[in-house]
Symmetry: C2
Subunit: 452 residues, 2 copies
């Protein structure tokens, strides 16, 4: 279902300067074993609840019941959320929905609503979406763990007013609040008003919520098989908890990325060769950057550490980024994600007037794309650039579920290797405070564009 091919990360393939020697991996094993033991102990103590989400039958049932109740009543579902409240839905829906879902007539969508993910506060973007929709046929999912996210709160205030103007007191039926089970403004509102709501399980941080109602409810409404998504992740749990580094792709990939960083490869490119998997790289970008980019070590020392994730798409970015990856400074690893089966065959027909293409005649577009991926991997390797490939048997709810789970565990494991807390994000607080200050006191400055 999912395999990690890391041959091209090794010194045997790319040379000793940037490649990883078997001895280096071996030397890391005792530390990896201690990290594994610690993770399992914390898991057993209930500290890492994200591990068990794929097998949480009660949560699945709750989401499916709510989706059943809402199904058929709305033509549009709009997610109001930002960061972890949006990225998982976007990635999974791109992977598993119809690629032009919103352009299809309702029947071809299997009766599912159109899905819009609004993860910004640009009035041009948000305004254009509201202009497109009719209040009476639109459902909003307001998603904020804390209930205090300023962007989501603003969207909510605008959307509520927009619906209320047309629907009066029935506006409450057009909103579902997805938030903390006990605390915060949205939970209080749900309790006071009786509005529909869903709980984000306690102890699961924003970027680890893809297997919670945060993503599961919009995905279920849009017609994705969320039971299979969870089942794929659940199937992968055993491998992702294997103590043996070489048998556990999540640990192994975390360790390889960590060792590469120590050699100065501080940029981590993720390059799916698949239109469907394009936004998985974006979801991962948050997970990797926000979890590992930290000033302080677990020992309280300033370390200013963290790899920079970069999103690319094969074959498209061969014509944009690969020149740099081949010839620029050797400061990157490239992780390809490649499906073995693209699900459809599109054969390339003969074209007599273009004899230059004759060698492609009869081949499938999937063969072309697969050969491009392998050729890029080979060319990088010849240029001594470490790279690895995650093979998926196909792009399906099960494989995508496994892939998400892999990256979540990999990130947690890498956090321990980098000696940072992968579950916090202290560095964004200052920006939040300054935003509020500017809004309250600095409007004039803002209008002049001064940033002092």
């Amino acid at each position: 279902m999912l395999e990690l091919d890391y041959d091209n990360m090794l010194a045997t393939a790319v040379g000793e300067e940037y490649g990883i020697a078997p001895t280096e991996l071996a030397a890391l094993m005792p530390r990896c074993a201690r990290i594994h033991a610690d993770l399992m102990a914390r898991h057993a103590a209930g500290e890492l609840p994200f591990y068990d989400l794929p097998t949480d039958r009660a949560m699945l049932t709750t989401v499916q019941k709510l989706a059943d109740e809402l199904r058929g009543r709305f033509e549009n579902v709009v997610v109001l959320g930002i960061g972890g409240s949006a990225l998982g839905t976007t990635a999974a829906f791109r992977a598993l929905g119809a690629l032009h879902h919103n352009l299809l007539p309702r029947k071809k969508r299997g009766g599912a609503p159109r899905l819009f993910v609004q993860d910004n506060v640009d009035p041009a973007g948000f305004g254009a979406t509201l202009e497109l929709l009719e209040p009476h046929e639109t459902l909003f999912l307001v998603i904020s763990k804390s209930g205090a996210t300023v962007e989501t709160g603003s969207q909510f205030a605008i959307a509520r007013h927009w619906v209320e103007e047309r629907q009066g007191d029935a506006w409450q039926d057009h909103f579902v609040l997805i938030t903390d089970p006990e605390q915060g403004a949205l939970r209080r509102l749900a309790n006071d008003s009786g509005m529909r709501s869903c709980a984000i399980p306690s102890g699961v941080g924003g970027r680890f919520t893809v297997f919670t109602p945060v993503a599961l409810l919009p995905l279920a409404l849009a017609g994705v098989d969320i039971a299979a998504l969870l089942a794929g992740a659940a199937d992968f749990m055993t491998r992702a908890m294997d103590a043996d580094l070489l048998a556990n792709p999540a640990y192994l990939n975390g360790a390889l990325q960590y060792l590469a960083y120590q050699k100065g490869l501080r940029i981590s490119v993720m390059m799916p060769y698949s239109d469907r998997l394009r936004d998985v790289a974006d979801w991962y970008r948050q997970l990797w950057a926000e979890s590992l980019g930290k000033r302080m070590s677990l020992d309280g020392e300033d370390i200013f550490v963290g790899p920079t994730p970069v999103k690319a798409l094969g074959a498209t970015d061969q014509h944009s980024q690969v020149q740099l990856y081949m010839e620029g400074p050797c400061d990157k690893t490239v992780t390809f994600i490649a499906p073995r089966d693209y699900g459809v065959k599109v054969p390339i027909p003969a074209f007599a007037q273009l004899p230059e293409l004759a060698y492609l005649t009869g081949r499938g577009m999937d063969e072309l794309l697969r050969c491009e991926q392998q050729a890029t991997a080979q060319a990088l390797t010849r240029n001594h650039r470490p790279n690895c490939t995650i093979w998926l048997s196909e792009v399906s709810p099960r494989t995508v579920g496994a892939l998400f789970y892999l990256f979540e565990v990999q990130t947690l494991f890498a956090g321990a290797l980098f000696n940072v807390n992968p579950l916090d994000q202290p560095g964004v607080e200052l920006g939040k405070q300054l935003t509020k200050k500017l809004l309250l006191h600095g409007a004039a400055d803002a209008a002049t564009g001064s940033s002092d």
Copy 2:
């Protein structure tokens, strides 16, 4: 119309370790003067024709005439192209078209066709697009400078067959070839068949083609004011050719990025605070990476140089990447692009049940977004992270035209500072050769997924 605010790139704002001292900028000036003289000499000798595209009236007339001829005849326009043949169109259309253009009924599109940019060879993606469309109402723009791009050629063969099956010999009316004026397979086909075609001016490389028919024809068909786009660039020409480094934002930004790279800031983040400008960062990513990421210097020495461009979006990525930008290693510059006017006002209404948001009541969503941008710039600065802001008066054809022109000249200038040829891309050849080899001889290997 366009201003570069670079205060936060300077040592006075972010400290001496990563900030640029006035003396460093002054020390670079003699070299900048020589580079300017050289560029102007090459321009005068006709070697850099991209400089003059914004004032090429004949080209504009040709494109507009062809667009007029085709207007109203097709419901869908599909661009078949990759890299520079797609990115300019995507960026400009996102900036200047309706944000949900393809979802709007024809009347609300002003009669313009829907626009699809197909820049990959994933059978799932390409197949889904064909499935959505009807051959008799679809026009394809086949875009390849060389005429030999394997991805575009494959798409063309499939699309031709798909149209011919339904339209017979009339298939030729459903294609416009945009290619070299004299050479290559597509030019030969145009000459032999009498199919409609457009010339990409000689001497203009793929990533510098946004002001040629490559982007102008699809944009004109989709209803963008291409005359204003070119006029905006033309207005900016004087500033972008100014010998005075401090008066020329293109030179100045190139020099600042170059100096930052010398201090170890090898990652160049571009973060527009605008949904409309989101894909400008993607277009720029190709320009910057492919132009500057080079193994060899102009003196023939191995230097393996080149900054890595990273695409981000404000405020969205404050909840994804900014933690890393604030606290991770200081290896980045951040360039914000911020419109002073978002074109629409979306006021945030009162929401009695959420008193936490009271301070936002009556403010515009644009104010919130603008304050977030400034707060992020201030927070980065306090954390000693160099950043600059390109202010646009608004997002319009004129300002976007100026912005594209700025980045093109900046890239050319930076190429000279980095001492590389910004107009070639030798590093992608090996991958192309290996792809062909795998397709011809390695299908079995490909199927097993071995990458050795």
